[in-house]
Symmetry: C2
Subunit: 312 residues, 2 copies
């Protein structure tokens, strides 16, 4: 098991896109700054989608520019297409993720594109990125969503995921990620799928999982991922958000609970958990109507809790 884990906060993108409230730019920036100050090293700060589709994320360029001023923070964004990737590059994002839904039905609903069309877009983006000077070229991830099942299609065959991962890498992605958009994943499946994809595209081409807690298995699935060498886990502060295009699927893994589990296990996240728990206040103030989730914020830390970094 690896000892250093990257917790990638996706709340400012995945959380905010799935709620009706629009968080003011100032609060977004305060949230991102506070989480970075607590030790979070990667934050997905927004998405370059059409503002009429997701007005909650219309200020993504401004958020990226703010986040870029924070030292040692990897600023990630979601992009649905070449246009979005160009905007991400202009704004200065360090990492872009293009989602490809393993379920083609979900892909049509979510990105309004077939698999072939999405893969064409990946090629165009990769070509555009290759022409950039190295220092302004973002890391390019292909994120396979509904990888563990789809609310419309049900089971998605493992072979489909493996083939899509191969195609994404051939089309020019630097790495692939797997997302449990529907909250269908179970630990046995996580291990099987990670192993199968890595066998096809190589150990270093799959590092991250985006897991939801829709059926309460989020952290168990993280544990399964750790067991097979996954080092990056997405999560959302306060469990904010979900997938608006997958009915009934809500609830990212809660960042506070994830960091607690990892640190309690002796896995260093670089995050100061007590400071992280305070960041929740920013969300509660800015989004008073929205439900917040998480067990550790409710129960508090165990008496005598020692984070990984402070152990002898």
């Amino acid at each position: 098991m690896p000892t250093r884990i990257l917790v990638s906060e996706v709340g400012p993108r995945d959380g905010l896109q799935s709620i009706r409230s629009i968080m003011p730019l100032e609060a977004k920036c305060a949230w991102i700054s506070a989480e970075a100050a607590a030790g979070v090293r990667e934050i997905e700060v927004g998405s370059f989608v059409r503002p009429d589709l997701l007005p909650q994320l219309a200020d993504t360029a401004a958020v990226v520019r703010h986040a870029r001023t924070i030292p040692d923070l990897t600023v990630a964004v979601l992009v649905p297409n070449l246009k979005g990737a160009q905007l991400a590059v202009e704004a200065g994002a360090h990492k872009i993720t293009l989602p490809l839904s393993a379920s083609e039905t979900h892909s049509l609903k979510n990105l309004r594109r077939t698999h072939a069309q999405v893969l064409d877009e990946v090629c165009s983006i990769a070509t555009m990125l290759r022409e950039l000077p190295a220092e302004s070229r973002p890391h390019f991830e292909g994120g396979i969503s509904t990888a563990f099942g789809c609310t419309i299609e049900g089971d998605v065959p493992e072979r489909t995921i493996v083939e899509l991962a191969e195609k994404l890498m051939h089309a020019g992605c630097d790495e692939v990620g797997l997302a449990d958009t529907s909250g269908y994943a179970n630990p046995a499946q996580v291990k099987r799928l990670v192993k199968a994809v890595r066998a096809a595209v190589g150990e270093t081409a799959l590092n991250g999982l985006h897991l939801h807690n829709t059926r309460g298995l989020g952290l168990a699935n993280v544990l399964a991922g750790l067991d097979v060498g996954i080092t990056t886990f997405d999560s959302s502060l306060g469990g904010l958000g979900g997938c608006p295009f997958a009915p009934g699927a809500s609830g990212n893994v809660v960042t506070e609970d994830l960091v607690f589990m990892l640190e309690a296990m002796g896995l260093d996240t670089g995050i100061d958990l007590e400071r992280l728990l305070q960041v929740r206040g920013i969300l509660l103030n800015a989004l008073p109507q929205e439900p917040m989730y998480g067990f550790v914020p409710e129960a508090g830390l165990p008496l005598g809790f020692t984070p990984a970094s402070r152990r002898t």
Copy 2:
């Protein structure tokens, strides 16, 4: 990993003892019958404690007598002392668990006894049981509570748990169990502690874990237990209950979510999940004031979900 797992429902004991409402005997019996009909093979139906201390469980003898009429159900009860064990034998319980709190401070608060006093009681119970004919002799478990930390003492040294497990076995228990009374356990600790205790008392003398979900790690801890060969997991329907003597510690693992995880992983529990989900209605009707927990009851089963037993 074992393929057949025993889910031991503890709601009628651990759940009901920690809430103020008193569930009528009729509702308890209906609950137990319905869970058994859904395929649950072991239920902890009550506790033979002084009725003035836990009036919620004052009818335990009657509940045991009802549960004994259900074919193929292991009827378990908690007993704090010899007197309780005698009542359990009279009522016809198949299994008795005597709790011993690894934290001596917690032991004094919970059972009003030091470790030495509890171990003396275990000896007396074992002596009494040995004199019974085999067919009326219940299985005798020593349950080590606060095994993963205590809300009053904090860390409890691993060596303490191992020594107590040895002493319980020497005093005459048939097996020991480990309970995360405080909800402090993490997966790495679960694996370490199970291995350490088994190394001391033997593989077959530790089969069960009683895990709480206080900090959201319940199912991740179950997964860790599975990884080291644990085959019995306690849980509570609707997540009812907790430990009234450990402030801030609430929330058993939710039976519905536990069964979902196991079945989704292909581990046969013998439980019909759809029928189990319907049993929740009995609790909602009988305890309208009490909060119920669980993710699967909220989100529903995945589209096309196939339980372990129906796979080819």
